[in-house]
């Protein structure tokens, strides 16, 4: 019979590995992506995966101090995605 905390630690390490592999695959798509839209999408996915990694770090260390970091990264990720897309669409970010 496995302890529940052991089970949670194993799940935590599996989640770290899975999201690290996901981040690497998004980076491969960022490098090889044939179109500009694919590269913007890969960067957006990388930001989301980075948020996931920081949330996992907060769970692993048992602290609450990574909450603000995650919030700021979420906001900046959205703004940068929209800025890239606007630049490709209109040739200008703020008209």
């Amino acid at each position: 019979m496995m302890l529940a905390t052991d089970m949670m630690n194993i799940a935590l390490w599996i989640a770290f590995g899975a999201i690290a592999i996901a981040q690497i695959m998004a980076m491969i798509r960022l490098v090889i992506g044939p179109g500009t839209g694919d590269r913007i999408l890969a960067l957006d996915t990388m930001v989301v995966n980075a948020i996931g990694l920081i949330v996992l770090l907060g769970i692993a260390q048992g602290t609450r101090i990574y909450f603000e970091v995650t919030l700021v990264i979420a906001m900046l990720g959205f703004v940068s995605t929209v800025a890239y897309a606007r630049f490709v669409l209109r040739g200008d970010i703020i008209e």
């Binding site: 799940a11 179109g35 995966n49």
Partner: protein, 129 residues
């Protein structure tokens, strides 16, 4: 005591669900072979994957005694902004013609990316006349 065990298992299940959705979404981003098809997979990473991880973080904070619902803020922000950025990326794909194009629009030059409102067209006609 039995309650703590159940909550710990709930955290583990949420972590596994979130990690699985993130991994599968990135596999889809890497393996699909069309730009619009590739757009479909990572939207699940941004909603279900991160949603489950943040839910695990919330449950874990209650488990350790410093319970808080702060992560709901990040969850709400991500859920609101994910469709907007997906819409913008789809517009980029249409604008750059990286995908199978729909039939040509009746008046505009490209689909929805260079759309001019009616009021601006009237202003332009007045300026030309």
């Amino acid at each position: 005591m039995i309650w703590e065990v159940i909550v710990t298992y709930a955290v583990a299940i949420c972590l596994i669900i979130g990690a699985a959705f993130s991994l599968i979404g990135s596999i889809g981003l890497l393996k699909f072979n069309d730009s619009m098809t590739r757009l479909h997979a990572p939207t699940k990473v941004g909603t279900v994957g991160i949603g489950a991880l943040l839910l695990a973080s919330m449950i874990h904070s209650y488990l350790t005694g410093y319970g808080a619902l702060h992560e709901l803020l990040i969850m709400a922000f991500l859920f609101v902004t994910a469709p907007i950025s997906a819409n913008f990326i789809a517009k980029v794909n249409l604008h750059r013609r990286d995908c199978d194009m729909p039939p040509a629009p009746p008046q505009d030059e490209t689909w929805s990316t260079l759309n001019v409102p009616e009021a601006d067209l009237e202003l332009q006609e007045q300026k030309d006349a």
